[in-house]
Symmetry: D2
């Protein structure tokens, strides 16, 4: 399906049809809590480790601080980091410890999806249904996600990563414009352009770079959160499903193109890929340094360890992903 | 030096002497912010990746939730996780989104050292001095660590990990008793007992299991934070320095033995290894599953990715370390 | 009804019967959000102001800090107060402001019912029903209380306060033992003992002192939150209803006697007084200094201003009540 | 002194001169922690209570929620309120309690000066000195204000309030434009215009309405925090000192006129009135409803209870002030 074929007036119908075509419901049993991470097996980790040649490593996380992409919308602030004690206390404050010991300590308050993060399977529902056909109310209460909390995948997300730098392949100066909808053709075209290290298949962790983060950092965040951005077209649901990838992350706030491709809609691709495909989605990853290295040496795959902070019952969690080439 | 040689009445003198013997001040230049992570180079990452044989992975993080080791001491609470919206809202609450979309979202408040974490180089001072001889007040203010914040090592901590299961080697049912001081002899003895995969050297990430976490989980946390525990003897400072390891983590709250080995003291080994050696210390890691696997297959080294959440200016940061064998 | 008449095996039946006898449902119309605060009218404020004779004032709030009554149960921690900047930064840190200006600033994280507080009408439900027969799900979602949030009474709670020092009247050294159930007879007996300034009637704000806070402060908090304590007997529901008071507060964590007066129960009196009577309940008030003054001058009524922090949608809110005599 | 006489290039000199003219240092002894609240005595509370005639009450607090004046600057966010449990859980979630009891509970994270608040005496320093000539570093550390924390005035702030509605007296439609500097002449002119109930003297709690809050609410907050606003002229320091008021509050973010009246400056009047006069300043109070009532009945004084939340060591604290006429 191409974006031109979408009926912009009927997101509900489009979502239902895509859900039907791509559903993994029951694929791994009624009790499954892993979704597409079932594709990421031990052989894939061995394959991923085999991609480490130079030993160079890249953090794919943004820095977690007040200068971030959130603007307070839906009570999502940027992280607030404060000190319980500092070096000033140690040097000039009242003595707290014996033998000249001084210490600094700190706390944080933050929405779990404030910055670089994985969405958990309990993050999005379709008409009150969560992943695997469960009732949303049975999965996520005020105590958190009781079944598919992010801690259930704490030890899983390490394997072969592959970068599709769509920004470099189809953008200007490496950046796609806001509102640019990345289609299956763009993904396939990027794979073709980048060459054989870019093949994408079962169990891979796919990283899609739009270049928008570079722009946001250059121009300031402004109203970034929820604002216009490049991202995946709704029509990529089938491609994402058919590829049998274990997870996919982008360098944008919202993963899919904003504004969305319907007249009245909000994140319709999420509504398909999380509750129906059971796909793990990463957002606000910083892919720029890795992408520059890949462009330089032509190798677009690598070992990727991206274990989320295992907050019990979390429907999303911050992560500092490490790519090693 | 053996614990018997320590003058229990003079921690200040012992700290000063150990600091003099083990200081890495200036070793990597006056501007260095990496400390012992300088030992972890690209070759070490290649070596670590080469240890992945079966592709099995282990999370070494405790779950981050209210049932944790903190008791409020020094304003350190356990993490408090709350929902901004839940599946109940999606299924039964007022409609928020079009086309049947529902979402759950969450926030967290936590001390950065509430659970599994890395200490940063700005965490501990000796007589008002931070790592590399800097004044504490010039490094860590109320805005956080301005020089050695944990974000400076965001992309570093991936390489060869090696587990020394001292609990299995010298304990009962795999657990050392509280107050047990692990000496250099215990470390060397564990290496000898475990065999050749356990060699420890420059650039390695060393994990030391005491077994105390297993006990704490079995018996409840009680007054765990700051209470009695097995841990490293003050006298291991030279061993830790001489080994040229990049980092070291234990399964206890405090890394070093508690109560400490002086009549009146608080964490004296910290006062040597952080500001003088520049050593990265991990605490409250969960090594039990990994240890069982190592005991089973006899391979005690592995690839370890343990990238801390890059909170700007943090003097410590939570981490979900992943070991892959 | 006396406590001896309670069937300890049937809290459900006792609650239903008490609810039927005491319900104010519909009394102030279907849209009412004020409950018993409807009794507190302008004449009552004039009466209260007329009680100010000496101009002496008392804060009835505990201090909000880490040394408080919470123990983490149900994710209720004590308040965590941290500084954004301090005097150390101003005196020794990097210069932030021109012309020698220095500033300190701070943040807090706390459960809204961590310390001295008012329960809102959305705090407790009976079989899924909130005050005035509303469905709980229609009143309090993850966004908070949409109808009876504490902000709806932001300007109300000022009027005549009256203290019943049951601890002094029936306790030892001014303190009732833990588990002591205060009955209607104890309340009436205290009124009689204290004399005519202690009459309780329509629109009054009633303060009931047990003395347990004095004991908790003397002995440390221990497992105070939810533990054994003196408090109101379940059987006082009719007295509380018949008195037509506007609100009632105690110096304990839980208002009613703990353990509760049924074999298996949790806060059954709450289940009657909040959703059925619509009564405003205050907890963890510090009545000791006021009580000493009242005992000294024999005047047990006073002007009371106890306006909760108007957090939008809150089901409870901290307050610093001020009594002026 | 009139604004025209200010040397816009020399805030440091102007501050030093004003500090010298207005200092209360030592006035109440070297150990004083109350500053101008020393002026608010018991007689003043009796006088205030005598002003209650109709019994009508007004909350002078803004609502504490995400739709507030903060924009993240200096890590000051708006309050973030989340639920620990809701009515949805009670009605549709897993059963938590016996006998049909359901409960909702909540937490808050907020800067203590996020909304309607009192500045404490530890909030502002002049060249490293706090109120009464103390060294800033000796007063406020990372543990908070050790001497003049807001809890020290927990029982004090109740007395005679008086409103000067400068917006109505000198503005258009009751609002002063942004950047309007209120001078002593404007204050005296407002008193004259409002009549005899508006006299201001020793121990009074003065409320100054600019009308800017009404405008901010009408137009949205925008970049309100720290942006342009009407407020007190630097030149009112002498008037504020000479009046011997106990405290003063405005309906703006910053109390004094913004931009400030020097070429390069930040809140210079704060630097005089807090550390030198020891004056208690309130900010972001909502005076509109009270002002409308005062304009209607011509009585501009009233009983005011404005007890801050007694957060131990806080340098500022939220408050829900209640005015009763």
């Amino acid at each position: 399906m191409s974006p031109a074929e979408l009926d912009r007036t009927d997101p509900t119908g489009a979502i239902a049809a895509a859900a039907k075509r791509t559903s993994n419901r029951g694929r791994w049993g009624a009790d499954d809590v892993l979704g597409t991470l079932n594709f990421l097996d031990e052989a894939k980790r061995v394959e991923g480790a085999g991609l480490v040649r130079r030993g160079v490593s890249f953090s794919l996380a943004q820095r977690f601080d007040a200068d971030g992409p959130q603007n307070g919308w839906r009570r999502r602030t940027n992280p607030v980091h404060t000190m319980l004690s500092s070096g000033l206390d140690a040097e000039f404050g009242p003595e707290e410890f014996p033998h000249g010991l001084g210490g600094a300590d700190d706390v944080i308050f933050m929405p779990l999806q404030a910055s670089t993060q994985w969405d958990g399977l309990g993050h999005i529902f379709d008409h009150g249904q969560a992943y695997n056909g469960r009732r949303a109310s049975q999965v996520v209460t005020s105590e958190g996600d009781r079944l598919t909390g992010i801690e259930t995948v704490a030890d899983r997300i390490a394997g072969r990563g592959v970068l599709l730098d769509v920004g470099r392949a189809f953008g200007t100066d490496g950046e796609l414009p806001d509102g640019f909808a990345i289609t299956a053709d763009h993904l396939d075209g990027t794979i073709a352009a980048q060459g054989r290290s870019s093949h994408v298949g079962r169990g891979d962790l796919l990283l899609i770079r739009t270049g928008q983060l570079a722009r946001a950092r250059r121009n300031g965040w402004g109203d970034y959160a929820g604002g216009a951005a490049p991202g995946l077209s709704f029509t990529t649901a089938d491609w994402l499903h058919g590829s049998e990838i274990a997870g996919v992350a982008t360098d944008t706030w919202g993963f899919e193109v904003r504004p969305n491709e319907f007249d009245v809609a909000f994140q319709p691709l999420h509504q398909v890929v999380i509750p129906h495909i059971g796909l793990f989605i990463g957002e606000m990853w910083d892919l720029d340094a890795l992408a520059a290295d890949c462009a330089s040496d032509g190798a677009f795959d690598f070992f990727l360890a991206a274990a989320p902070l295992p907050v019990t019952g979390a429907v999303g969690a911050p992560v500092n992903p490490i790519a090693v080439k």
